[in-house]
Each structure stands twice: as C-alpha cells, then as structure tokens.
C-alpha cells in the first residue's frame, strides 16, 4: 500500500522548494495563532496584577499584529500550496502520457480498458490530496512541534514532553488507530461499491428484460439490500474516521491537562508565575491546530494510494510491440507479406488466428471476411503493429517487421479503424491529424472521396464545425466517413480499412466501394468486412472461420462454390431483401 505513495513522494520531491515554503507558511499561520493566544493570555494575566497601561502597550500591538498577520499568512499558504500542487500535477500528466504511449494499443484494446484510461484522468486529479492534505500539513506540524518545544523548554522538560507527546498522539498515533479500526469497513466499501455499480448497470441496461420477466420488484429489492450493506460499511468507515478525529481532540485536551498538572506545583514557588502558566496553557492549546487536520488527511491516504497504484499500473504496462535498438529502414515499395501468422491473446487457451497468409500489393484489394469473433480484427491489429505476432512471419518490403521501427511501419500505412476516436475540435483539426501539412484542396478532395464533403457543407460551420465530446455528435455513418477521409488524406502506400462500409446506406456504400477499388490500383489495400454481399467479384477474398482461413479466391468464384462463403452470403441476402424497401 505504501509503495505507490512512496513512488509518488519521489515525484513530489522534485518540487520540494515550493512545498517547503508552503509548509513554512502553514507553520507560520499556526505560530501566529499560538502568538495570538499566548500574548492574549499574558495580557490578561498581567492586567490582573493591575500594572499601568504602559505595561500592556507592547502586548496590545502584538495581539493586533498576530491577528492581522495570521489571515494573510493563511492566504499565502493556500496560494503557494495549490500552485505547487498544480505544478506537480502538470508534470505528472505529461509523465503519465509519455509513459502510456508505447502501450497505447494494449491499453485501448477492450472497452473496459477505455474506462481505465478515463479513470486515469480522475486519478491524476485525486492526487492533489497527498500534498495539500497530508504532506504540507505534516511538514507544518513538525515545524510547529519544534516551535512549541522551543517555547516550553525553558519552563520545564516534563511539560515540553507532555505537549509533544500530545501532538504526536493527535497527529500520528490516533489516525493510525482509526485507520486500523476502519480498514475492514474500507475494503468492504470498495467491494460493495463495485457490486452496486454492476447492479445499477443491470437495472438501466436490462430494464426491458426485467420488466418483461416481471422481476422489477426483485431488482429494487436487490439494489435496496446492496445499498443497505454498502451504507452500513460506509457508516462504519466514517465512524472509524470520526474516532480518529475525536481521539486526536482528546489527545489535545489531555495534553493541556498534563501541562497544567505539571505546571501548577511550580506556581508560587518562584519557578513559574501565573502569567507564565496562563501563556503556556494557551500556547499549548493553540498549537494543536497544526495537527487537527491530519487524521482526515491520513484517512484519505488509502484512496490516494489506490489512485497512485492505478496510475503506476498503467505507466508500467509493457509496450505492445518492441522497438528494436537499431531498426532497419522500411524499404520501398512496402509490399506486405504475411505467412502462417498465429496469435493467441494472453490468458486465452485458444488461438485467435492460426496459419493466416496473404500478400498485399497494389493492383487488387485483399478482403477478409468471417463471422464476428473469427479473428478479422486480430489480423488488422497485427498489420498495424499493435501487437507482436505469436508465430509466423510478417514482412514489409521484404523485411521482418520486428526489425523495423513500429512508428515507421505505421507511417507507411493509412488506416480507417472500426472505432476511431473523434477529438474535441473542429472537423478540420480532426482531418488534418492524418497529415498536418495537407492543403485545403487536398483535405476537401479526401473528404469528397470518403463521401463526407457533401455532408459537411450542409453544416452551418462547414469544416470549422466543432465535433467530438463537446461538439456536434456525429452519427455512426458520419464517423465512418471521417475515418475513411483521414485514411485517404494520409496518402500512404498501404491502406488498411476495418469495416469501412458498416453504417452506410446502400448508395453511399456503393460509391465508397468504388473509391476503395480505385485506391487499390496504387495502394496495397486490405479490407476487413462483414458485408459479404457487396464485395466486387474481382477482389481476392480470405474467408476466416474460428481463426483459420477456410476458403480463399476471387469473390466471384467463391460465390459460385457451395462453401462457407456462400452460406454467409445467403444469410445476409435474406435479411437485405427485406431491408431495402
């Protein structure tokens, strides 16, 4: 548990000057509070002895100074601590981003990892608690402890020890007691919260099934029962945390009692005056402000640690493909040859693909078809150097891809992926990502080829329309065309298209297929698709079933043969005959 926190602390240490300044300011704030109470006590006790007003002048000025200075220091402390923390988070973001780039594909491969990536953003933000609520207050508390010791030591070692012991108990021991008391409840809370999340997802996504099965009431009861257990675990956890704060307060009160008990016998014997005792008591009382925030801060250390662990898990993920130390340049023309490619996903007992071979060169597109789960996407991922082949050979321009720089391989391949990410920004920004140097005319040309241009000019903003999460929401077909336009704009010698015509209407589909066919004359083109009815007769087709190629040949020939391809074709035609009306 502490290891991620320790790693984080090392990253924090790079900002140590600012954090130290913040801690000094935090200690200073408490010190002025100590000064205020101490001087006030001195003032009252002295005044009780009925001296002249002159004796009080300095104290009156000091009280005012402490009162005004304290607010100012608090303000400065908060500014400095937040500035330091934001600088730290900024560095952390860049560090995290750079660290996950090499593993990008393995991290984004499944939907749940997509959630993990999104959580990463929140996790980074969560880490501001470590400096603001733990590190700076703890450093400040140590400084205040030193100050208190300096003030009390002249009046007796026993008193000093009692006060410091109280500080240590309130700031460290009691929070630890609370953490131990709440450990079980905290872990129960995490588990129950995950169960609750699943139940809520079931309730929303499965609402039709629940209602139709007459199980709506059962579901409410399930959520209610889970909510009861979750609430009780959370309440137990909160109770443990409250125990920490209360015990810390108790430690402070008892320390004051101890200081008094040790001080009272010396009063009047010449060892200690009433004025001094008053000031000492109030100083001790005020000093505890420095540690009273620590229990709740330390209580959050668990959550901080979990966030840090998730971050380091991601940054430590092994790269999806290994970059050779002395990469061979990719020769031209980059003809792609796959022979006996095999791949098994980690943790799976069955190979996703076995013995897949093909050759991509300009002239005719190679089309891979098969039911979902048959391995099409795996072949595409291997082509794009998103993962290392498990067996077999993948060559580009005659060179084994493993000897090349994966970035250079990717730079020779234009891709329209099945799930393409739209970045918040203008459509133009999103298109030009594929080739920032492209001219406007080239961009429009690519969009026209992808049948996107006529859609865009109908938008009020045209190519400057904001899209993405915070902009215009594109339909599936529009996203598809954008991905295609990016691929056309990229203008690389190899073209890889994953389900390029899913979500397109029949007319658009036909035009896009023509466009792909035209591109394949000059680009080595690979298409993965489930639209078997639309494949041009001249295309070279690979039929994938359970990861193996069971048929291959010209589409026209396969259509005539009574094989697996023909069965798939018949199934799809029966549906299309209805849907075209």
């Amino acid at each position: 548990m502490t290891r991620p926190v320790a790693r984080l602390a090392r990253l924090l240490a790079r900002q140590w000057r600012l954090f130290l300044l913040a801690a000094v300011l935090a200690a200073g704030t408490t010190a002025l509070g100590v000064g205020l109470m101490g001087t006030s006590g001195w003032l009252l006790a002295t005044a009780a002895g009925l001296p002249g007003i002159a004796a009080l002048q300095v104290a009156i000025v000091l009280v005012r100074f402490f009162g005004i200075g304290r607010g100012l220091l608090r303000y400065l402390e908060r500014l400095v601590s937040h500035d330091a923390t934001l600088r730290f988070l900024s560095k952390l973001r860049v560090h995290v981003f750079e660290a996950i780039v090499p593993a990008a594909f393995s991290l984004s491969a499944t939907r749940r990892s997509g959630d993990v990536l999104a959580r990463l953003v929140e996790d980074v933000d969560t880490l501001d608690r470590l400096p603001v609520r733990v590190l700076i207050p703890a450093l400040g508390a140590i400084l205040v402890g030193g100050l208190l010791a300096g003030l009390l030591l002249p009046f007796g070692a026993g008193m000093t020890l009692a006060a410091l012991a109280g500080l240590a108990a309130a700031g460290v021991a009691m929070p630890l007691v609370a953490a131990a008391a709440g450990a079980r409840a905290a872990s129960d809370t995490v588990n129950l919260r995950a169960d609750m999340q699943s139940a809520l997802v079931d309730g929303v996504q499965g609402v039709a099934d629940l209602v139709a099965l007459g199980r709506a009431q059962d579901h409410v009861e399930r959520v209610s029962a889970l909510g009861g257990s979750l609430g009780s675990a959370q309440a137990r956890s909160a109770s443990a945390s409250a125990l920490g704060s209360s015990l810390a307060g108790l430690a402070a009160d008892l320390a004051v009692v101890a200081v008094l008990a040790l001080g009272v016998p010396h009063v009047g014997l010449g060892g200690l005056t009433v004025v001094q005792l008053t000031a000492i008591t109030l100083v001790t009382l005020a000093a505890f402000e420095a540690v009273l925030g620590l229990p709740s801060g330390l209580q959050e250390l668990g959550a901080t640690s979990a966030s840090a662990r998730r971050i380091f898990e991601l940054t430590d993920a092994p790269p999806a493909v290994v970059r050779p130390s002395a990469p061979t340049p990719v020769p031209d023309p980059p003809v792609v040859e796959a022979s006996a490619l095999t791949f098994t996903y980690p943790g799976s007992s069955r190979a996703a693909i076995t013995g897949v071979s093909f050759r991509l060169a300009p002239g005719r597109p190679v089309v891979i078809v098969g039911p979902s789960g048959s391995g099409k996407s795996t072949v595409v991922a291997l082509l794009l150097r998103q993962m290392e082949p498990g067996g077999g050979d993948l060559r580009i321009g005659g060179v084994d891809v493993r000897a090349c720089d994966p970035d250079q391989v990717r730079s020779r391949i234009a891709v329209a992926a099945q799930r393409t990410h739209l970045f918040t920004g203008t459509l133009r920004d999103n298109l030009l990502m594929a080739r920032p140097s492209a001219s406007d005319a080239e961009m429009v040309r690519a969009a026209t080829r992808a049948r996107l241009h006529h859609v865009v000019i109908a938008w009020p903003g045209g190519y400057d329309t904001w899209i993405g999460e915070q902009g215009l929401q594109l339909s599936g077909g529009e996203r598809q065309r954008l991905a295609l336009a990016r691929a056309f704009l990229r203008d690389a010698p190899v073209l890889v298209l994953d389900e390029p015509t899913a979500n397109l209407d029949a007319l658009t589909e036909r035009k896009v297929i023509e466009e792909i066919w035209r591109a394949s004359a000059s680009q080595a083109t690979f298409v993965a698709t489930h639209r078997v009815t639309r494949i041009a007769g001249e295309a070279e087709v690979l039929v994938l079933r359970d990861g193996e190629i069971v048929e291959r040949g010209r589409a026209a020939e396969l259509r005539r043969a009574a094989g697996y391809f023909r069965q798939m074709l018949d199934l799809q035609r029966a549906a299309e005959a209805v849907d075209q009306f």
Binding site: G33, L36, T46, A47, A48, F66, G67, R70, G71, Y75, R78, H82, L86, R87, R93, E98, A104, F105, L107, A118, V121, S198, L200, D202, G203, A208, D209, V211, A212, A216, V223, S224, G227, G231, A235, A238, S239, S241, A242, S246, L247, L250, D253, V267, G268, T278, S372, L384, Q386, F423, T424, T533, Y564, M568, L571, R573, E576, A577, V578, F581
Partner: protein, 581 residues
C-alpha cells in the same frame, strides 16, 4: 440553498439521525464551554494564595473527564450523521431505482444509459457531503454561537455583545465575496473544464494518435495545456481564497478585540481574571462552526448538480395507464393459450414531433398460430412488440386479449403469460444459473438443464469455467452474441409461457449459430401462440399469417403463399431476394 426545487426523500430514519447528530454536536459544544470554565478556574485558582496541586487536582481530573465526554460526543455526532446520510442514500437509491423501473424501457431508451447509471451511482454518493456534513453543520452554525454567546453574555455583558455584533458580519462577507468570486471566475471555470476535458479526450484517443503518428506532438500539447490550466486555476483561486482570508480575519480579530477589551477592563478591575480568561478561551469556539460550514460548503456544492438531476428523475410523471388495472382471474396459462390477441386500429408515436411509429394497425393473432411481422427497419415491428409487452400504451385504438382490452388487465399478470426474446438480451451480473432463474426462480436443476439442452446452450455452458455457476455479465466470462441469444432462449423455455414475442435472432454471418438458433426457436414455437418479428424472408415461410409493414402502416397481410401470389411488397421482396442470387 441546495436542491431548492424540492427536498430529497430522506426517510424518517435519516431525519431522526440528523436531528440526533445536531443534538450531539450541541452537547459537544456545551462540554467545550464547561472545559473553558474549568480551565479558567484552575489557572485563576493558582493565583489565589494557598493553592496547591492537591487542592486543584479534583478540578484537573474533572477537566480530563469532560475531555473524554466531549470526544465521545463529537464521535457520536459524526457517526450518527454518517448513519443518517447512509439511510438517506439508501432511500434515494431505492426511490430512484423504483422510479426508473416504473418509467420502464421506453423512458430509459430516450436517455443516455451511462448518465443514468452515473446519477444512481456516483450522484447518490455525492449527496453525502451535503447530508452528513453540510446540513448538520448548517444547524450548528446557528445553535453553537447562541450557546457560546449566551455563556459569554452571562460572564460579561460587553464581551457577549461584541461577539454578537461580529457574528452577522461573517455570513454577510461570505455572501458578498462569494458572489464576487463567482462572477469573476465564471468564464475561467468554463475554460478550466474545457481543458480537463481536453486531457480526457487525449487519453481516450491515444490509440488513434499513435496510429496517426501524432503522439509526440500531443505530449507537448498536454504540457502546455496543463501549464495554462495551472495559471488560470491560480487566477480563480486568488479570488476564491479571499473569502477564507476574510473569515480568518474576522475570527482572529474577534479574538484580538476581546483580548484587548478584557485586558483594559481588568486594569480598572471591572472584571475578574477568571471570567476574562474563560471568555478568551471560549471565543474561538464561537467562530469555529461558521468556519467549518465554509469548509463543508464547497464539498456540498459538488452534489448540487446530481441532486437536481435526481429531483428531475423523481418528478417524471409516471407512464399513463389506460383504465383501471384489474387482476383478471382468467389470466392463467390455459386461458391465454386459448385466446387470441387483436390489434384494433392501433396508433402510436414516440413524440409529437416525430412521425407515427404505428398508424391505424389492425391484425389478429389466433391462438396456437405464428404471425410474422415483416418490414424494413423502422417500419414499426418493434413498436408492436413493445405495445404487446406493455412498455407503453397506444395513443389510440385498442389491444384486445380474448375480447378484453389489454389496458384494463394487470400488466404484470399479463407479462407472466408472455415470453419475450429481444434481439440483444441483457445478461445480468451473476452466474449463468442466476440469469436463467430470472425466468422462474423456483426452477429445479433438472428444469434448468432441460431448458439449456432445448436451447442448444448446454455445450458451451458446460465448457465455461464453473459451468452453470460461471460468472457472466459485465465482469464475468465474455459470451459471444450467439451464445447470449441461446441463453435467452433457455430463459424462454424455462418461463414456459403460452404467448411468445420473438425478435428473430439473427447473426448476420455465422451459419452454425444460425442453424442452432433456428432449430431451437422452432422447438420453442411448437404449441404456442407466436408473434414473430422477422428480419429475413426465410423466417416468414413457416408462419401461418404474415403482416407486412411499411412506415408504420400495415401494407398487406395474409398467408405467405397468398401474399406471394399478389403483386405487393412481399412479392417484390421475394423477387429481390431471388434476383440477388
């Protein structure tokens, strides 16, 4: 202040707990006053001649005792408050879940599922800060100053008046500065949320960035965005922290003023040292609850949006029910097996600004027959299925079951006689067995086994780790689309209802799964009344009656052979299917 539109349902347990928490908080403050009294008495006591530790020891012991009591009271107050907040969350979540299920599939389909889950999950959790901390603190920020103020007033009129005079200044200044900060930072907050969205966007699109070779440029963008984020945030914080500065100043200056005032009056012997010391020690307690309220306020604000969204959900009008729901004693399996279902001039539209999903549809389903609905997507097939399942009621026209209006029957009693196979059945978080028993909780193991065999699901279930007890759903084993369909089929076999609403289970390209599913569906349909939503012509040939739909209207209907002989839509579909081959 928050959730102004209407209070969230707290439930009696929650309310009682929150009142108890406030009472304990007041008790804790009262004990603090007692502590101050004792502390002043001990110190003042040492000033009196002849005092010794022995004479003051009982008072010190009492002081320690009160400290223990106070720690107990503050712990109990927090614990009770968290319990109460947990009860409130439970009540809220139960109410929201019930509401959502009452609103049903039609409502959920119009919402974003992720957002709904978030409201029920994290949204409900975020009320904790408001309920457990802000609410009790709000009450305490009035009650505690009254209590402390009264104690001070009793000891010294002038000091009491001084405190009373400063109290209203705090909320006033908080309000003024808060308003100013909000106005000045509104624009900046928008910029900030844009920037953090930008980072989320980048992280989620990381695979696309690497594919397009843009990752290195993006790292520089992350760095500069983060830095700008820091600068803008600091601008906002500079203003936001002003309120804390003011609060600090008022509180410390209050203490300073009281100290000076007491000192001066001690000089002229207008007040005793003990009373003055008591007032000095207790003064910070006067301001403490207001400062705690300020701290809790920001945390409570985060729950605001979620709270409004919850009120919005709870305020949704319940779906309309036509006529009074009467539990019909005739609605048992044997009766339903012998009755027909008639659509009599039924129209439905999802919203006034959209075209009718179904317009004046009339047809009937005779007992024991299979009626197929055929038409392109969007022609109204699913609307008919959802009306039969009573996810919604028709706008005009009637559904009749054995001559009785369906709307007058008890919806749950009717659904017990209907088995529904949706196109994409939801698999719930839990085991295979849990998912199957949703259809019939009291099903024996052998019933379940038989249903699996009939649905051709027995083989893959046996291959799962744990078989029937294998976890499925979000976190469990991943099933293919075809496997999920066959589990839903097994559910339908278990339910053994006389009336079947069947969305034809197609998987475009998978011939094996298609054969298995078709076979199981034939078996399931035997001896039952079936309403079949057909996506393919091949599925219709075995039907007794075909209803051809086009844009919400019944285009034609009759026996398949009769329709084929006409020159209608059905005949044209047949021609299209043959022409394609």
């Amino acid at each position: 202040m928050m959730f102004e539109r209407r209070p969230l349902p707290a439930g009696p347990t929650g309310r009682r707990a929150l009142i108890a928490a406030v009472a304990l908080g007041v008790a804790s403050a009262a004990l603090v006053v007692v502590q101050a009294v004792l502390l002043a008495r001990v110190i003042a006591g040492t000033a009196r001649a002849g005092s010794s530790l022995a004479s003051l020891a009982p008072m010190l012991a009492l002081l320690a005792g009160v400290a223990v009591l106070r720690a107990a009271a503050s712990w109990a107050s927090d614990t009770v408050a968290s319990r109460g907040a947990a009860a409130v969350r439970l009540a809220l979540r139960t109410a929201l879940t019930s509401k959502l299920l009452a609103l049903g599939p039609r409502f959920v389909a119009t919402e974003r599922t992720g957002e709904l889950v978030n409201t029920l999950g994290a949204g409900v959790e975020s009320t904790d800060a408001y309920v457990a901390r802000y609410q009790p603190q709000f009450a305490l920020s009035f009650l505690v100053p009254i209590l402390v103020g009264a104690a001070v007033l009793r000891a010294d009129l002038l000091s009491g008046l001084a405190l009373a005079a400063t109290w209203p200044l705090i909320p006033l200044f908080m309000y003024l500065i808060g308003g100013m900060a909000r106005r000045r930072s509104q624009a900046q907050w928008t910029a900030l949320s844009r920037m953090s969205a930008r980072f989320l966007d980048t992280v989620q699109g990381i695979a696309t960035l690497v594919t397009l070779g843009r990752a290195d440029d993006e790292a520089a963008v992350v760095a500069s965005t983060s830095e700008r984020f820091r600068v803008v945030t600091m601008e906002v914080l500079k203003v936001a922290f002003l309120s804390a500065l003011t609060l600090e100043w008022l509180a410390t200056l209050g203490t300073a003023v009281v100290a000076v005032e007491l000192g001066l009056r001690l000089l002229v012997a207008r007040i005793t040292f003990e009373a003055a010391l008591f007032i000095l020690v207790v003064t910070p307690e006067f301001y403490r609850p207001l400062r705690a309220l300020g701290a809790a306020f920001h945390a409570a604000m985060t729950g605001r949006e979620a709270g409004e969204r919850m009120s919005e959900l709870l305020d949704q009008p319940p779906p309309q029910v036509i006529g009074a729901a009467v539990a019909d004693p005739q609605l048992d399996a044997e009766t339903v097996a012998r009755t027909d279902l008639v659509f009599d001039d039924v129209s439905f539209r999802y919203s006034p600004d959209r075209p009718a999903a179904l317009e004046r549809a009339s047809f009937s389903v005779a007992p024991g027959t299979t009626v197929a609905l055929l038409g392109p997507s969007g022609s109204g097939k699913s609307t008919i299925a959802h009306l039969v399942l009573r996810f919604m009621e028709p706008d005009s026209g009637r559904l009749l079951v054995g001559g009785h209006p369906l709307g007058a029957l008890d919806a749950d009693a009717w659904r017990r006689q209907v088995a529904w196979l949706p196109q994409r059945p939801h698999l719930f978080h839990g085991t295979v067995l849990d998912n199957l028993r949703l259809a019939r909780p009291d099903a024996s193991d052998s019933d379940v086994e038989r249903a699996l065999v009939l649905a051709h699901a027995d083989r893959f279930v046996r291959a799962l780790p744990g078989g029937l007890r294998a976890g499925i759903g979000e976190e469990g084993s991943r099933l293919s689309g075809g496997e999920a369909q066959r589990l839903a089929l097994a559910r339908a076999f278990l339910k053994d209802a006389p009336f079947l609403v069947l969305d034809e289970l197609t998987s475009h390209l998978d011939p094996e799964n298609d054969a298995l599913v078709s076979d199981a569906v034939r078996e399931l349909a035997r001896g039952r009344t079936v309403l079949l939503i057909a996506h393919r012509l091949t599925a219709v040939s075995g039907a007794d009656h075909v209803v051809v739909l086009c844009r919400g209207r019944v285009a034609e209907q009759g026996m398949p052979s009769a329709l084929a002989a006409q020159r209608g839509l059905y005949a044209r579909m047949l021609t299209a299917a043959e022409g394609a081959v």
